[in-house]
């Protein structure tokens, strides 16, 4: 009897229907107003800012820098740091496949329908966005040998050594290409059985094009294989893994697969934005890093 009385007092759960509103007017009007706002905004934008139209296309006159549409500048940025097959095709293909595969990997149904649905989701998003942006900027500066320029400027500027130039024994640390030229690879050659490294690493049939005439043969072309393929790919795979490990074990913010998905997706968005912005605003002639006000397009 007592338990019955208690259950009678308990509030009846609200029925689903009571939580619902009618699509007309509540949703249709929101849609209508947002469409009107966007129409007006785009009209105003179009009235004041003209779509670019340069000179007629001329295959014999190449603008320097030549840039892809802005949404592909992230790929064009990658192109500066690694083998074109990776930057232009393999990396975006894998990125899109991984993107599409998120729901098949993070299958738990909970946490849907609310913004940042896990306990640490907000923190993870901010952290991942900041760290991925910083590391991407740092990597771009490194490959642009900016640390070399700045170190030289600083040491000359302090008057310690007004003729200071980056020492040759540190040439390998200039940028990625420095790995090719800054290390005397022929001094390091060794033999395994009948093969002499690294000369005999050429012509392995793996289907990755190098500089051989036959695209089906892998021309390891060793130092450049290291700087243009191994190091960039290891960076793109390794840094996200490190980020996951650090966030999980050091920060302790990762509890579910959803947290990992948020971490990596946010990092992807950050890299996408940073590389697009750098490609659009900070690449001048010869794709050199330049401040935006210093970028002039020259026709050659």
């Amino acid at each position: 009897m007592v338990s019955q009385a208690v259950s009678a007092v308990r509030a009846r759960p609200r029925r689903e229907r009571e939580e619902e509103v009618l699509v007309w007017p509540d949703l249709v009007f929101v849609e209508f107003i947002s469409a009107v706002v966007f129409s007006i905004a785009l009209m105003v934008l179009s009235a004041f800012i003209n779509a670019p139209l340069l000179d007629r296309a001329d295959p014999n006159t190449t603008p320097n820098p030549s840039k892809a549409p802005w949404y592909f500048l992230n790929l064009q940025e990658l192109l500066l740091h690694m083998e074109p097959a990776w930057a232009g095709v393999i990396v975006p293909t894998i990125a899109l496949i991984l993107l599409a595969a998120i729901p098949y990997w993070d299958r738990a149904a909970d946490g849907q329908g609310t913004w940042f649905g896990t306990k640490h989701a907000g923190k993870i998003t901010v952290w991942s966005f900041c760290i991925a942006s910083l590391i991407t900027i740092w990597l771009i500066l490194y490959d642009g040998a900016k640390h070399v320029e700045w170190t030289e400027d600083i040491i000359r500027g302090t008057g310690l050594n007004s003729d200071f130039i980056w020492p040759t024994w540190l040439d390998w640390a200039r940028n990625l290409r420095g790995l090719d030229t800054g290390i005397n690879w022929s001094d390091l050659s060794f033999t395994i059985g009948p093969f002499t490294m690294f000369e005999d690493w050429r012509a392995i049939p793996l289907g990755i094009p190098g500089t051989t005439t036959d695209p089906w043969l892998l021309n390891l072309n060793f130092p450049s294989f290291l700087s243009q393929q191994i190091v960039p790919v290891a960076t793109m795979v390794g840094l996200p893994l490190l980020l996951i490990g650090f966030t999980k074990h050091v920060l302790g913010w990762i509890q579910t697969r959803r947290d990992i998905a948020i971490l990596i997706f946010t990092g992807f968005i950050a890299v996408f934005i940073v590389t697009t912005v750098v490609g659009q605003f900070f690449r001048g002639q010869g794709q050199e890093l330049r401040p935006p006000w210093d970028i002039v397009v020259v026709e050659e």
Partner: protein, 251 residues
């Protein structure tokens, strides 16, 4: 005698209203008047061809702007706007190497509102890419890809790729230096694919470099091929949103 209360007769406004909106022709087009009762409001959403994409009722939290920011709907709105402005642009544009650039110049200088039309098309295209990206982020951060919506997320990724391709194929059409070299850079990237790279590039350009064949291919893909494909994926995308019970909700 006590006065008898009678229903008031129709006033002048009511008569005008009836004349305009209760006549035979009008009612053959719009079967109900303005839907001002809940029953009619549901009916109009369920029976109108343009509105029946929606359910008749929706959860309270889903009409809050901050839940979706209307991003998916606005992406679709950009697609519609691009279709309208695109069709108008087609009146003035011939996709030939000889004429394309001159046509754009003529559009900007000789056609009334031609410049505005082209500007609108351009900025809407950029807006659509940004909106699609933001929509993807919204869906991700609200966990809306989770079961049973896994496949619709995949459809969304395909729609994102198609949006980029639509924009990319349109980029060449003005045939100016910006267009030509952007497409040259872009297709060179395609050519660097480890497998079938040169073949893909040749297929895309209809030759070894950006020229007449490339312009025709990009034009055809831009104005009919890709819009048809994206329409099919859009239909599936919207249909599945409905089939999966609308927007994702906390369990």
């Amino acid at each position: 005698m006590a006065s008898v209360e009678r229903p008031p007769g129709k006033g002048f406004n009511d008569q005008i209203y009836d004349l305009l909106f209760r006549n035979y022709v009008w009612q053959s087009i719009f079967r109900t008047g303005y839907p001002n009762t809940p029953r009619n409001q549901m009916l109009v959403v369920a029976t109108n061809v343009f509105l029946h994409l929606h359910p008749t009722r929706i959860h309270r939290t889903h009409v809050k702007i901050t839940h979706t920011y209307c991003l998916g709907g606005l992406s679709f709105f950009m697609f519609l706007g691009l279709t309208v402005t695109g069709v108008l642009l087609m009146f003035y544009y011939v996709p030939s190497v000889e004429r394309a650039y001159a046509d754009i110049q003529a559009l900007e200088t000789n056609v009334r509102f031609g410049l505005l039309l082209r500007n609108l098309h351009r900025w809407m295209a950029h807006a659509m890419i940004i909106l699609v990206l933001l929509h993807m982020m919204r869906v991700f951060y609200t966990g809306a890809y989770k079961p049973p919506r896994e496949f619709n997320w995949v459809v969304g990724v395909v729609l994102f790729i198609l949006t980029l391709l639509l924009s990319f194929t349109g980029y060449l059409l003005p045939w100016d230096q910006l267009a030509f070299w952007a497409i040259t850079v872009g297709t060179t990237m395609v050519g660097s694919a480890p497998v079938l790279g040169d073949e893909s590039k040749f297929l895309l350009l209809g030759g070894f470099e950006v020229g007449t064949n490339a312009l025709i291919r990009f034009y055809t893909l831009h104005v009919i091929g890709l819009p048809l494909v994206i329409s099919i994926f859009l239909a599936v995308h919207f249909w599945r949103v409905r089939r999966d019970g609308g927007l994702a909700r906390p369990l």
